[in-house]
Symmetry: C2
Subunit: 128 residues, 2 copies
DNA sequence: CCTTGACCTTCCCCTTGCTGGAACCTCCAT
DNA sequence: ATGGAGGTTCCAGCAAGGGGAAGGTCAAGG
């Protein structure tokens, strides 16, 4: 299967798939014409990567998860630890964003939003 | 005032301040020895930028906000629109992260996390 | 007067995770 | 044979700076 079909079936852009090969996440065979030839196992990996990335795992995490996935003698504790650390990062990020949201909402509701120059948002940003 | 003091007073790293000058957000004068000489107005801008960045505004937004801040005849509606758009982006991001958090939490609570290889997290990622 | 150390300057490369484009090759249908 | 839709490589660039080298400057201490 060529890269276009692999892209369509995995849901990943062809560029992304080439990038993943570049950094060693997948290693499709090559046909005699130099085209990448994706086997089912490659497609499976790509789909795995797509789901892991969609859950926000970094490429480094994905590499580790893929290695664990392919290691039949892994301990699930290792996977769980990775996932828990990632979950903690997600929660921290949510907290940050919620703080921003709160502050920004306060400023926005105080702003008349008309054609006059007076603006509580700018006052807030300028340290008022 | 030299860049070190400007950094200490604005709370921004010196590197960041140089970068902001590079992209035209601040334009401190230069002393005869070539050192940047920050006036109070520069410091004020830096602090403004620090607060805007802390609220998650992009550099592009910051540039626009700074221009509005310095325009005495601005309409507050313009500022409010910018802020509301940013708020919407923040809320969308929170929603994304919460979706990830939910899925990931489900997987994590199902995983024994012991030394056995069976792992619902990996099963989930592999499309099970 | 000289040196030391802290500070400043510019410069360029590195990061994350791709994305776009140029130049070129290959395959299939007409 | 030719046109267009694939494929290939490599190069550049995005946000928003961070790290560190090579060198200039300044104030204090011996």
């Amino acid at each position: 299967m060529n890269i276009g079909d692999a892209a369509a079936r995995s849901g990943l852009p062809a560029k992304t798939i080439r990038y993943y090969e570049d950094i060693g996440l997948v290693t499709p065979r090559r046909s005699s014409n130099g085209y990448r030839a994706f086997a089912d196992s490659d497609l499976h990996k790509l789909a795995f990567l797509g789901r892991a990335r969609a859950l926000g795992f970094s490429i480094g995490d994905c590499r580790a998860l893929l290695a664990l996935y392919e290691d039949d003698s892994r301990a699930s504790a290792e996977v769980k630890l990775l996932a828990q650390e990632h979950l903690a990062r997600i929660e921290a990020k949510i907290a940050d964003l919620r703080a921003m949201q709160e502050t920004l909402t306060e400023l926005v509701v105080c702003c008349a939003g008309d054609d006059r120059p007076d603006c509580p948002i700018l006052r807030g940003l300028s340290g008022g």
